[in-house]
């Protein structure tokens, strides 16, 4: 069972994080102070850390900087009330792995923690991603479904790569927008849905088992269903 260290000084938020992660089968330990958090984070029993940026004692940025300075690579999800892009860039540059703005939807938080956990477990780049009979060759830039080679636009390729790297995980629209396009604003409308729709038409052509699934209220997931 994965184990997560929650460094968060706000009781309500901490309880929320713990409850949501517990319902997804993840165990949590909570620390309310930055200095204490840094000490506990060194413990290798944790698979990931959620880190509030505004902490008493030692602020979140310093915690993650010192953590990385000690050579500890546990993935860190930074949580902050500041939604500014600069703030995000600073957080990620200091060594954070992902950045989430308060207030957040719990499923968004869980999806991000999930991504961090799996990334932690399956380190290393694969040249070939495969889900069921869908193959994506990162080196030759070729996508194949069964015997058919698919022609994808560059954006569609990046989108599919992201979905396949996190096959079986729920990816929210915001996560997709941030990772595939690198944009950090609210695209509004059903922009992501349209892009997914395009990709879906190419991947899940008539007669194939659908691989891209809509997770209602949350986002999308690419997985082989039985």
């Amino acid at each position: 069972m994965p184990r997560i260290l929650v460094i968060e000084d706000d009781d309500v938020t901490a309880r929320e994080i713990a409850a949501e992660l517990a319902s997804h089968g993840i165990e949590t330990d909570r620390v309310a102070d930055g200095r204490e958090g840094l000490r506990r984070a060194a413990d290798p029993c944790y698979d990931a850390i959620t880190l509030d940026l505004m902490l008493p004692g030692l602020d979140g940025l310093s915690v993650v900087t010192q953590l990385r300075g000690q050579g500890i690579a546990t993935p860190v999800l930074m949580i902050s009330a500041l939604s500014d892009v600069d703030e995000r860039v600073r957080g990620l540059r200091a060594g954070g792995d992902d950045y989430l703005t308060k207030p957040f939807a719990p499923d968004e938080m869980v999806a991000r923690v999930d991504v961090l956990l799996r990334r932690h477990r399956q380190q290393g780049q694969h040249a070939l991603l495969r889900v069921a009979d869908l193959e994506l060759d990162l080196v030759r830039h070729v996508v194949r479904r069964g015997e058919t080679q698919l022609s994808l636009l560059p954006t569609e390729f990046k989108l599919l790569e992201f979905l396949m790297r996190h096959a079986g995980q729920v990816l929210t629209r915001t996560m997709i927008f941030e990772t595939v396009w690198g944009f950090h604003f609210d695209p509004g409308t059903n922009l992501i849905d349209v892009h997914i729709g395009r990709l879906r038409k190419k991947i899940d052509a008539a007669g194939c088992t659908p691989l891209i699934h809509t997770v209602r209220g949350s986002g999308y997931s690419l997985a082989q269903t039985d």
């Binding site: 500014d84 207030p103 939807a105 950090h184 604003f185 609210d186 509004g188 922009l191 209220g217």
Partner: protein, 457 residues
């Protein structure tokens, strides 16, 4: 624009004009009075003198009279006096006057002969006063005195008046015009200062000089008023932001609860569908608050840390690629016209957000089968980017309003949206010192962002 005649509209100039006319009129009255007084006095004196002399001469006997008459002429320098002796029928007998003027009645009364008398000593054609008396022997004696001095005094006074007026009024008017320029220049400075305020920059203040005069007092009053307005608006905005901020957390929890509840029902059940609708509504609310906070975040962002050299063409290509599928899904054409553009100094993420909003909006308000075009054009002071659509357009009277928070035109009430997209664009434009223009395109609205080069501002 400022014109030369503007100076005459100022209070100073009007005062100068009024005082000038008043003084000129008063001068004329005073000098006229002096002239009238002097002239009437001199006339009275000459008339008395001439009358008495004529009377005196009649009382003398012939030789004495002749003597006296000669003295009368020679004692007076400049030959002011003259006399003539005529027979009963008016024929000249002696003296220098050779004809009886028609104005003179032979009764001793003094009359004015403006054209002068006919004389044989060369002193003709000078205005004189004359009196004629009949002597005991029937002959007529005419005595005259040159009174042109009275008229000459009149002329001198008149000339003095004209000179006086011209020396007072002309420099006065000139001075007034020059005096009016100072305050007018300040009025123009004040007008310049109000332009950004009218455009919504409430941090601007009217210039106050160190004179402390009426204009400064007025500017001070207006500035105090602006302080208050700015404070009140800030308070209103603060309240809005606080509400948005405070409501976001409970709304996020509400959404989480609905989501968890929804997970407990089977997909396809009526409960699931109802909860799905609840989720959609909550998301709409959250989006609105997020956009609202985003705007105030942008408005409070003063520093330009994220500014760097940015390739505008690349940004536009990205936005085009991002929205192309959406446009195609709606049966619209999304065109991109990109001439070579110089790099600009900007925050890349914010520009992406701004153009995304512009293009997203254009697509949203363009009917199926319509056309949306992103056109960039280079200009001296920085490139322009036009986003044209074939939608309903934005009515002229609503063009300022659409950049305000929550404003949506009447015609688009049925289209979903927060009404905050253009406010975000406008806030990003302000942060960059760019201008957002709203106009008509050939078939719909045209929203242009002028990425003005900071150095050329």
């Amino acid at each position: 624009m400022r014109r030369l005649t503007d100076n005459w509209r100022s209070t100073t100039a009007r005062l100068v004009l009024i005082y000038g006319s008043f003084f000129a009129l008063w001068g004329i009255v005073v000098i006229g009075l002096i002239h009238w007084q002097a002239a009437s006095y001199l006339t009275r004196v000459s008339n008395e003198l001439i009358g008495r002399q004529a009377e005196y001469f009649t009382m003398l006997d012939e030789p004495t009279r002749r003597h006296a008459l000669n003295d009368y002429v020679s004692l007076e320098t400049r030959q002011l006096n003259a006399w003539g002796l005529f027979d009963a029928r008016g024929k000249p007998l002696a003296g220098t006057i050779t004809a009886l003027p028609s104005q003179v009645v032979i009764n001793g009364a003094v009359a004015i002969v403006p054209q002068g008398l006919e004389r044989n000593d060369g002193h003709a054609h000078v205005s004189v006063r004359a009196a004629a008396v009949r002597l005991d022997d029937g002959r007529i004696l005419l005595v005259s005195r040159d009174t042109s001095i009275v008229d000459r005094i009149g002329t001198i006074i008149l000339q003095a008046l004209l000179w006086g007026i011209s020396l007072t009024v002309v420099p006065g008017l000139l001075g007034g015009w020059l005096l009016a320029r100072g305050p007018l220049r300040r009025v123009h400075a004040i007008r310049e200062a109000t332009l950004p305020i009218m455009r919504g920059d409430l941090a601007q203040r009217l210039p106050v000089s160190r004179h402390g005069d009426e204009l400064d007092m007025l500017a001070g009053i207006v500035n105090a008023m602006l302080d208050e307005i700015e404070r009140l608006l800030g308070e209103v905005k603060g309240v809005c932001d606080n509400i948005a901020h405070d409501l976001r957390t409970p709304l996020t929890r509400l959404r989480a609860r609905i989501y968890r509840l929804q997970q407990q029902f089977d997909e396809g059940s009526s409960e699931n569908a109802t909860l799905e609708a609840c989720l959609v509504d909550t998301d709409a609310l959250l989006n609105r608050f997020r956009a609202l906070l985003r705007i105030s975040e942008l408005e409070n962002q003063q520093r330009r840390a994220g500014f760097d050299q940015v390739d505008l063409a690349e940004i536009l290509q990205e936005v085009h690629a991002l929205y192309l599928p959406l446009a195609e899904d709606r049966g619209q054409q999304l065109e991109l016209e990109l001439p070579p553009l110089p790099p600009i100094r900007a925050d890349r993420h914010l520009l992406l957000e701004a153009f995304s909003n512009l293009v997203g909006n254009a697509i949203k308000f363009t009917p199926s089968g319509g056309r949306v075009a992103i056109r960039a054009r280079a200009a001296e002071d920085g490139p322009w980017v036009d986003v044209c659509d074939s939608g309903p357009g934005i009515p002229v009277d609503q063009r300022v309003a659409v950049t305000r928070r929550f404003y949506r035109t009447e015609s688009c009430r049925s289209t979903p949206g927060s009404g905050l997209g253009l406010s975000i664009v406008s806030a990003i434009a302000r942060l960059h010192g760019y201008t957002l223009q709203i106009a008509d395109s050939e078939s719909g609205a045209r929203l242009s962002l002028h990425c003005r080069d900071a150095a050329s501002v």
